[in-house]
Symmetry: C2
Subunit: 459 residues, 2 copies
């Protein structure tokens, strides 16, 4: 956490600076009023979710998302709108079902394939995996019980830490199970993996999300299981350690597919070759319609510059909206953008990402060097934006996409909305427009607009 | 808004004070961990909503709420639990329905009687009110169109200001229509009043809430109408200014009834006659189960002291949980408590109220004199509680209930959770447990516990 801001700097400001600050404050107030009154971002998001639907990289929905973004941005009068073709990994889900088998009785388990998993043997039409289940709660437990896994299903059941205030931190802490659990278990001879869904909620919605296999380790099929079913299964295993689970996953690789980054550019009047980017990712998981992850980032980015445009602002630096391809499945869009998204002679001076959902504003994450070199800018931002809930100016990164940019000195920042609800919906069938609060979303758009405005004026 | 906190004070702290702060920070961290891990407040709230249900003052549900509170508090081991009998106004809703009549066609209007309204003539079994509708948008519009109201229904349709960040401020600004619109319209000869629901949401849920009649003005029946139907009706009136609305309200006064404040006391070790109160109100509106308004305040208050008790804390001052009777219908519980809730020789030194719903913590409202006299305490609170989202230490009041306390020098404070969602549910059928986010609720309880802890140690 950033140290608390001092008043002393404000006391040292010249009167001219004070006068400027009053204008800036009024301009920023206008951005928030426009966002809250018009709710354009919310309308865009509802439209994206309805028109394109789920946008798994390489899928038809992904292509629809790209078309939607180009068509919508084309109406806004920026300098140019274009796409950067990106070749992406395309994986598809197929059938999925699970049951717990106790004698002759079966109980459905709500599961969903983790992204990138192989299917069970025979895929959609095969017999699936049937085996005993070994519950693993944490890394130490894996080391202790690994020898029991041969021929069995590893059931990774470490809950997200309830004690952490920022749910993203709790997600990060428990995330190893989903990301790497399959290969960890396969090293011990496990034949399948069930992973407790990464959420603090107790509910019936299994969470998907990317996983990866280590090279030269047997690839075993991996599924997320809802927290309610994880709790139930854990309880049953205590009563009957020999019970069996059967599950079928039809998921499979489709191959490489065409997608694109969508870019809208607004040319700067003074420093056209210095580029400030605001971005989110267009792809989503396939269970919901990606309203939170990351439709929110898409419309935050679009609306931030649209608010400035409507307000009659003329940027000094070139401002860009970048809607990245395939964040969920390998960051291919962000990597391609970072290496070849800008013409020779141009460079990025700043980037801000929104990929943490539509919670009401708490603040921004900014790089440590910027805190050290420009405490006065952070102080001014805090003064200007604290009336709107932006009071947390932490030291940290931007996000997975914008974080790929390596231009020297670029200030890479992340929008931080309130995190409590994000993982209720994240990577589930519930990630849809109903999960988004219109005013909270709009406050985010205006906050990002205000940040870009002040930095464009100041840098 | 409070000015931003300086670092300079911290720099001036002695080493001893620093050491104390580290202990305090650790203790407060433990309060949050206990709350988030155990979620006792959420379990209590779900239980209150299920066991007692809606708790309109004087109703059977209200009595159930009192019993639930006494029984639950009795299990917690405080020094004593007792009730203070309060006589309350008892009003009941009865039948309610509305239609817009266009020629031979009718369209249902989603309406609900405002609390305290008279019924339409004949009540449940009468013919109701049928009349033309005059739309009034704002006070100036009332002055301009008042002469059109004779014999007609006044339709107060000023929306909540979307531009205000704190939704409570927008509620306050538009609230005159609900509170006083009936008498304002009756002065011009109106025969009925429809009031746009006080929410930023566009939905189908009419909002109730207290209204009052001026003396010597004809009492006309008043109903809230959902925002969707208000928008629809406004559109129809533009096309057909002579259309009629028909509505029936069976609401009526029942008379005086018995209720009670429920009080749990935890005797202080050093200053037993100096009392710090934490409170919310037990009564609710009858459409939902009052999870937000104010079941949240009830369990915030209970859990705040319960967290301290579980942590082994021994208060220096006497701490009290006060669950007030009948906030919604006249503050009778709070008034009785303020005048005779304490034994002779004792007085209140502080009170904190939670009556703004279960949003994630933003901070607290504290009286202006306390900001002026004790900036170092506010500074310390900010330092201790900003990791948990409490960064707003505004100058202002506590709330309607605790605000009745007039003991000299008492510090009356209000918990401030994020306000964006509160009026989505407030006074509607949607004010139920599903509207409450467990972690956001728990963060509120821990924040109030932390505030009380620090003030008890410091004052």
């Amino acid at each position: 956490m950033k140290p608390i801001i001092t008043l002393s700097f404000l006391g040292a400001l010249s009167l001219a600076a004070h006068s400027q600050t009053a204008e800036e404050a009024m301009f920023i107030k206008g951005l928030y009023q426009q966002a809250l009154g018009e709710q354009q971002g919310y309308h865009w998001l509802a439209n994206l979710c309805e028109e394109a639907g789920p946008r798994l990289a390489g899928s038809e929905g992904d292509a629809k998302g790209v078309r939607w973004a180009v068509e919508t941005l084309d109406t806004l009068g920026f300098t140019r709108v274009f796409t950067q073709p990106v070749e992406v990994r395309h994986w598809a889900r197929g059938t999925e079902r699970g049951e717990c088998v106790q004698g002759k009785q079966e109980r459905t388990l709500r599961i969903t394939a983790l992204g990138g998993s192989v299917g069970t043997p025979g895929g959609d039409k095969g017999a699936g995996v049937t085996a005993k289940v070994i519950e693993i709660v944490g890394r130490e437990d894996l080391a202790a019980k690994g020898h029991l896994l041969a021929g069995n299903i590893a059931f990774f059941n470490e809950p997200m830490d309830p004690w952490l205030i920022n749910t993203g931190s709790a997600y990060g802490k428990a995330g190893w199970q989903r990301w790497g659990g399959a290969s960890e278990a396969a090293k011990y001879g496990a034949v399948g993996v069930l992973v407790r869904s990464l959420t603090h909620r107790q509910d019936d919605f299994p969470h998907t999300g990317a996983m990866a296999y280590e090279e030269e380790v047997t690839k075993i099929p991996a599924a997320g299981i809802s927290t309610n079913d994880a709790n139930w299964l854990s309880g049953e295993l205590k009563k009957n350690p020999s019970l069996q689970v059967h599950y079928v996953l039809g998921c499979h690789e489709v191959g490489r597919a065409a997608s694109a980054n969508v870019i809208a550019e607004w040319k700067g009047s003074e420093f056209p070759d210095e580029v400030m980017v605001v971005g989110g990712h267009l792809d989503s998981w396939d269970l919901g319609t990606g309203a939170q992850d990351d439709g929110t980032g898409v419309v935050h980015s679009m609306q931030a510059l649209w608010l400035l445009k409507q307000a009659g602002y003329q940027p000094r630096h070139t401002l860009r909206i970048v809607l990245f391809a395939n964040e969920e499945f390998g960051l291919e869009g962000a990597r391609d953008y970072a290496t070849s998204g800008l013409e020779a002679g141009r460079h990025h001076i700043a980037g801000v990402e929104s990929d943490g959902g539509s919670g009401a504003p708490r603040g921004f994450s900014l790089p440590g060097f910027f805190h050290e070199e420009h405490p006065e800018i952070i102080e001014a931002l805090n003064t200007l934006m604290s009336p709107y809930g932006c009071r947390e100016w932490t030291q940290g990164g931007s996000g997975a996409d914008v974080g790929q940019i390596t231009d020297e000195g670029a200030i890479l920042m992340g929008y931080r909305g309130d995190s409590q609800r994000y993982f209720d919906y994240h990577h589930t069938a519930q990630d849809n427009i109903a999960s988004v609060h219109p005013r909270e979303l709009e406050l985010g758009s205006a906050s990002i607009a205000a940040l870009i405005y002040y930095l464009d004026k100041t840098l």
